[in-house]
């Protein structure tokens, strides 16, 4: 069948590669997204158990952290490397040695330039035999049905050989200690250069507070005085290092060429670290705890994405798509063991991009997508072309590949291709390839929406049915994928109601099936129909649905059988299934029982079972759904317990989402439901997708966190994915010592767009390999760290107690700060201070608010089980920006804006610290956590303003919980609405429902606002100041 390919002149030098008809077949599809792929045993996602200390750590006493070494991560056999700090006291020289040594590359490291191609361990010539195209298509077409997709996918990913010895290898060679050198350096070497303002610590007493980032430090004299002594006898100061962004890069350069600079330069460089510190020291017994609450760092300007990295690596994809927890990969296991925070990445493959920055689309045409033969990496800006442009070297596995004839281009003098600028795949970190036929096991599917609507009495009474029907009807014109879009409906209470939507009918027909044990479809066709053909029937159905079930008094809910029926209808196409559920499923398979209100189970070992799905039915259904490319979105409405933990697992394993609207009332909640449902239906969705993340040699992604199904060890199956979903994953090192200078990552998402095109979205990023822990801290990304940490915490709550999860978070934070402290504290005499890198200055606060978030807070009484689980499911998919907003919500004082009314809200809205101290009884505040707005009316707020906003008088103490904030005909109300609108535009992925609460209105004020003021001390939790003190004490103890 394939007479070509064998004679490819690939190895003939001096001759360009001829275009060969075999080229498209060389690229075997890396995935087979069709239903043919078995799910196998990989259905169970690996839960992670990193860094778990086996000992329960109770309380927050120092003694608990006196363990001799931090618990090593799994698969690491060597002794943990941080030397016990007890050997240091008084010897600053020792510290110099250490920092100094770590800043020099180890002798084993090759001194190749930073960005050059890795020169170690390259297979120079590929085996000639492998040049033959793999016989994809069996030459004899008879025989068992060839499931080519499956067949190929098993071969397409070849993991780099894993050397077993690396795990049992002895620890890396001890760092060379430079004795003589360190003795030369006097301790007073610390330069009082202008750069010293970074240190914030040394001179807070003499400096006016306004010049510092954290103005009023309380510095105990005990610590300050010795330092001043040293400042007297200093050597002339070195030139001040560049501040901010360039610093990281410069220091890396220094590290790279240690012998070029004077030896002094190296050690000074080691000193000029950018870190911050907080004074927390206090005299024992004094009431003053020594921390000024105002000086604590707060992310009041939102999330600042690390633009630095974009400047250093301009070819990387944008930060919004891919963020590493630290943009510096450690060289060795021992270094990784000292980095106590998770090492990993947060991937947001379909993040919304501002206009003008769209991901470019590349069509290779018949040449096929250019990929590495061995590791299947897509061509990207970091590949290098050699041999006059006839070969390219893969940046991940460094294999030399042939350049297909159609893709050939000559190189210029600097070794770059001449058409470098014209080809987006060679100049941009994010591109989209048009997938050729090999990437399809079936023609691109149309967008399919199937609605499974609960019509039992509770759904009818709260007005849910009517709003859902109306919203769907209003969205019909905007559903993506016209004219192929398919739609179907199934309503259920104690029976299943199918709706025949055949286009030749004038009215829809309802077919009731009451047999729940043996589900069958009453019609073979016409339950799922083409929307444009049957539009009038669908309209008629949606118009009549609310009245049809108006008088329904059925209280039962047969969700399980309904899911099965929906599966039978959708299984041949796949698509999106939207489940609207207002009660606990009570009939047929998958019936659930009331189990959330058992107070006694909290605090016991069985506590986590409440947060796990009770019935395996839902997980099995989810596995079936994923296999058939069906994504499930769960909308839950009940005020009573509906077991979100079980229902949510449908969304969890199918790439769906959980929308929880507790105690839904049409009057107040309809706008939120309408907006979110409309967004769910009309946002751009990627169908039948699979995602894989490749990375260079030496590192490996081990665990993945988010909503997906793991199809093989590293392939995420996503029946539907959209711009509101992000995924997190953890990295591990394979080799003890990394030999490359740079590690590359490539995210590839293969999907079908709503318009029926098959595309591959590829994001490529590079990160340096460092041998220095300080550099890792400098490049740390708080947003990514906290996103990953929160996902770990959520997963922890599903196997352990809430308290364990919180302890784990705290432990990680403390360990990382302690490690950082060990790096710097002795040489700088910073006793009595909590020091932390600039990059992590918000981490303690975020960890605190994570522990206080709905998903993790308190115990039984602090949040209802359903809300907790729904929050957990939500946090698993949140992109970084929204996660940070949720963890540290915005609090704005807006009464002045309403009265004076400057038109420019954006500038005048100043975010306040989340503490009750910020609340002034004479003012009006708005609180925004990305999911809801809370408007807080001060007690002494002028009645005029209140009347204007609410439209009635507060003096009668009306019930504000039923209030829907509407625009009234006065200036205040219009302005408020404009502010709210502006705030909503900031985050279009969710509708923030506005709730009004007045000061002193209990218990609503407490549950809505006060418990969310995370800097305050609420029942059983510590305030921000206490938290910092606690962290400080624990990081002090060694």
């Amino acid at each position: 069948m394939q007479p070509m390919g064998n004679d490819k002149p690939a190895n003939v030098p001096g001759r360009p590669v001829l275009p060969s008809p075999a080229a498209p077949q060389l690229s075997t599809p890396f995935i087979s997204p069709g239903p043919v792929v078995g799910l196998g045993a990989s259905g169970v996602p690996q839960t992670t158990a990193p860094f778990l200390s086996s000992r329960p750590i109770t309380g927050t006493q120092m003694s608990d952290y006196r363990s001799p070494s931090p618990p090593p991560p799994i698969r690491y056999n060597g002794p943990s490397s941080p030397p016990p700090p007890t050997s240091y006291p008084g010897q600053d020289a020792t510290i110099y040695q250490q920092t100094h040594a770590t800043r020099f590359p180890l002798p084993a490291q090759p001194g190749t330039p930073l960005r050059g191609p890795p020169s170690v361990g390259l297979p120079v010539t590929p085996p000639i035999g492998s040049l033959r195209p793999q016989p994809q298509i069996p030459s004899v077409p008879m025989g068992p049905a060839p499931q080519i997709g499956t067949h190929l996918s098993s071969r397409s990913y070849m993991p780099p050989p894993l050397s077993e010895s690396s795990f049992s290898a002895p620890r890396p060679p001890p760092q060379p200690s430079l004795h003589g050198y360190s003795n030369v350096l006097p301790r007073g070497n610390m330069p009082p250069s202008p750069a010293e303002t970074q240190f914030l610590a040394p001179r807070p007493v003499s400096q006016p507070p306004s010049q510092q980032a954290f103005p009023s430090f309380h510095v105990p004299p005990v610590h300050a005085s010795p330092y001043h002594v040293h400042q007297g006898g200093v050597v002339p100061p070195p030139p001040p290092p560049p501040l901010g962004g360039p610093l990281g890069y410069n220091s890396r350069e220094q590290m790279q060429y240690p012998n070029t600079g004077p030896p002094m330069g190296g050690s000074l460089q080691g000193l000029i670290e950018e870190f911050q510190s907080l004074s927390v020291g206090s005299a024992p017994g004094s009431l003053d705890h020594g921390v000024d609450a105002k000086s604590l760092p707060r992310p009041l300007n939102g999330d600042e994405e690390a633009i630095k990295i974009q400047e250093t690596y301009p070819l990387n994809c944008h930060q919004r798509f891919f963020r590493l927890t630290t943009h510096a990969i450690p060289t060795s296991q021992s270094l990784l063991a000292r980095w106590h925070l998770p090492l990993g990445a947060v991937v947001h493959p379909l993040a919304e991009v501002p206009d003008g920055e769209e991901v470019p689309i590349v069509n290779f045409g018949p040449a096929g997508v250019i990929r590495c033969r061995r590791c299947r990496t897509y061509v990207n800006p970091y590949v290098t072309f050699t041999d006059a442009g006839r070969k390219w070297r893969c940046n991940l596995c460094s294999l030399l590949n042939d350049v297909p004839g159609e893709y050939y281009c000559a190189l210029d003098a600097s070794g770059r291709r001449c058409d470098f600028d014209q080809r987006p795949e060679l100049s941009k970190g994010s591109v989209e390839f048009v997938a050729p036929t090999e990437y399809m096991v079936r023609p691109p599917m149309p967008p399919v929406y199937f609605f499974l609507i609960d019509v039992s009495i509770s759904a009818v009474q709260c007005g849910l049915l009517e709003i859902v029907a109306k919203t769907i009807k209003s969205c019909l014109d905007e559903l993506p994928g016209f004219p192929r879009t398919q739609i179907g409906f199934l309503t259920f209470d104690s029976a299943l109601h199918f709706h025949n939507l055949k286009s030749s009918l004038t009215q829809p027909q309802m077919l009731v099936v009451a047999d729940l044990d043996d589900i069958f479809l009453p019609l073979p066709d016409d339950l799922l129909v083409n929307l444009s053909d049957s539009r009038h029937v669908v309209d008629a159905l949606l118009d009549s649905l609310p009245s049809m079930f108006q008088d329904n008094v059925n209280v039962e809910s047969a969700l399980g059988p309904a899911l099965k029926a929906a599966f039978m209808i959708m299984s041949r196409l796949g698509g999106k299934l939207l489940v609207f559920q207002s009660t606990l499923p009570s009939l047929g398979v998958g019936r659930l029982r009331l189990r959330g209100d058992d107070l006694r189970i909290y605090g016991t070992d069985k506590e986590h079972t409440l947060r796990m799905p009770e019935d395996p039915f839902y997980k099995q259904m989810a596995a079936e759904f994923t296999k058939n490319q069906i994504a499930v979105d769960v909308y839950a409405f009940s005020e009573k317990y509906t077991d979100i933990a079980s229902l949510g697992s449908l969304a969890k394993y199918t790439g769906g989402q959980v929308y929880h609207h507790p105690s839904f009332q049409a009057t107040t909640h309809q706008e939120k439901l309408r907006y979110e449902l409309a967004r769910d239906l009309t946002r751009e969705t990627a169908w039948e997708a699979v995602m894989r993340i490749r990375c260079g040699k030496g590192v490996r992604f081990t665990t993945y966190h988010g909503h997906f199904m793991l199809r093989s060890t590293d392939l995420l199956a996503l029946p539907a994915v959209d711009c509101d979903k992000a995924f997190a994953m953890q990295l591990s090192l394979e080799d003890t010592l990394m030999t490359t200078q740079t590690v590359y990552f490539q995210v590839a998402l293969l999907y079908t767009s709503s318009s029926g095109e098959r595309r591959i979205r590829v994001h490529t990023a590079a990160a340096p390999v460092v041998a220095d822990l300080g550099e890792m801290y400098r490049q740390a990304d708080t947003g990514a760290i906290i996103s990953l940490l929160s996902r770990l915490a959520i997963e922890k709550t599903q196997s352990h107690k809430l308290d364990d999860a919180r302890q784990l978070m705290q432990l990680k934070l403390v360990k990382s700060l302690k490690e950082y402290r060990n790096l710097y504290v002795m040489q700088h005499r910073l006793g009595g201070r909590l020091i932390f890198p600039e990059s992590l200055k918000f981490l303690p606060l975020y960890v605190l608010s994570l522990c206080k978030s709905v998903a993790l807070r308190g115990g039984y009484a602090d949040a209802s089980l359903d809300e907790r689980c729904a929050a957990g499911y939500n946090m698993m998919i949140l992109p970084i920006r929204r996660m940070l907003r949720l963890l540290y919500p915005g609090l704005y004082k807006i009464d002045e804006n309403l009265i004076k009314g400057p038109e420019d809200f954006e500038k005048s809205l100043k975010q306040l610290a989340l503490s009750a101290q910020s609340l002034d009884p004479r003012a009006l505040y708005i609180y925004d956590d990305g999911f809801s707005f809370i408007i807080w009316l001060g007690r002494m707020l002028s009645p005029d303003l209140v009347n204007g906003i609410l439209g009635f008088d507060l003096s009668g103490f009306p019930d504000l919980s039923k209030l829907a904030l509407l625009e009234h005909d006065n200036e205040y109300s219009r302005k408020l609405m404009r502010i709210i609108k502006r705030l909503r535009e900031k985050d279009p992925s969710c509708f923030q429902l506005c709730r009004v609460v007045r000061q002193g209105e209990q218990p609503r004020e407490g549950s809505l606002l006060l418990s969310n003021l995370i800097e305050d001390q609420t029942a059983g939790t510590s305030s921000y100041v206490d938290w910092i003190l606690q962290i400080y004490r624990q990081s002090q103890s060694s």
Binding site: P3, P146, G365, P366, P443, R484, N530, E757, R758
Partner: protein, 218 residues
């Protein structure tokens, strides 16, 4: 009954459209889809085929027509009237050319006209039942002649390329074998020569020896 419908470009075998949920009840539909794709590949290699053909495969028939460098292919039961199948393909062809006619050559990605599947669905439904009045009328219509359309077996069709492979392989083997034969023949020739003249040489040698001995004695 129509099981499968595919439309592809003949020049390079690029699939352009496909009926959506075709063959939902069949387990082996993937196998036949592969066969159809191989068929397209064969066609794209430029072996001149008739523009209308029926190909027998297992319990089914592939029917296809090639028109304007586009191949319209459908798979039907054996019992399904050929006439209706070709009528169905004609309908598809007319609509497809009307809608997408000028973009066919420029389509760069697979399934560029997947939107056409809605029309395929609709048309297919019309042809599902052979006994509707409409279809009976079509069957009785003598205007459309399908008798001369060739019927072949799928093995035959797909086997052509395979046989070419075999022939080339045989010929290469023939070349190398004949070279070996030539070597062997030369070798044999030499041996035969030796065998023929060895006795004469021996006799002559003996005679010469005798002469030499006689001369010595005397």
């Amino acid at each position: 009954m129509v099981k499968l419908t595919m439309i592809a470009r003949v020049t390079d075998g690029l699939p352009l459209a496909e009926g959506l949920d075709d063959g939902r009840d069949q387990k082996d539909v993937e196998f036949y889809k592969q066969q159809a794709k191989l068929l397209f590949k064969n066609l794209s290699k430029g072996q001149h085929e008739a523009s209308r053909m029926s190909i027998e495969t297992g319990p089914y028939f592939f029917h296809y027509i090639i028109e304007g460098r586009v191949c319209y292919l459908t798979m039907c039961d054996r019992s399904y009237p050929k006439k209706l199948a070709f009528q169905y393909l004609e309908d598809l062809k007319n609509e497809f050319e009307r809608v997408n006619g000028n973009q066919i050559e420029t389509a760069a990605r697979p399934y560029a006209f997947i939107k056409f599947d809605t029309f395929i669905q609709k048309t297919k439904k019309l042809y599902l039942d052979t006994r509707t009045q409409r279809n009976l009328a079509k069957l009785n219509d003598e205007l459309y002649e399908v008798h001369q359309i060739m019927t072949r077996n799928v093995q035959e069709v797909l086997g052509v390329g395979e046989k070419l492979d075999q022939v080339s392989e045989l010929s290469t083997r023939l070349t190398s074998e004949s070279r070996i034969y030539a070597d062997k023949a030369r070798d044999l020739n030499r041996q035969a020569l030796i065998r023929k003249w060895a006795p004469v040489a021996v006799v002559l040698g003996v005679v010469m020896l005798l002469f030499w001995v006689r001369k010595k004695i005397w």
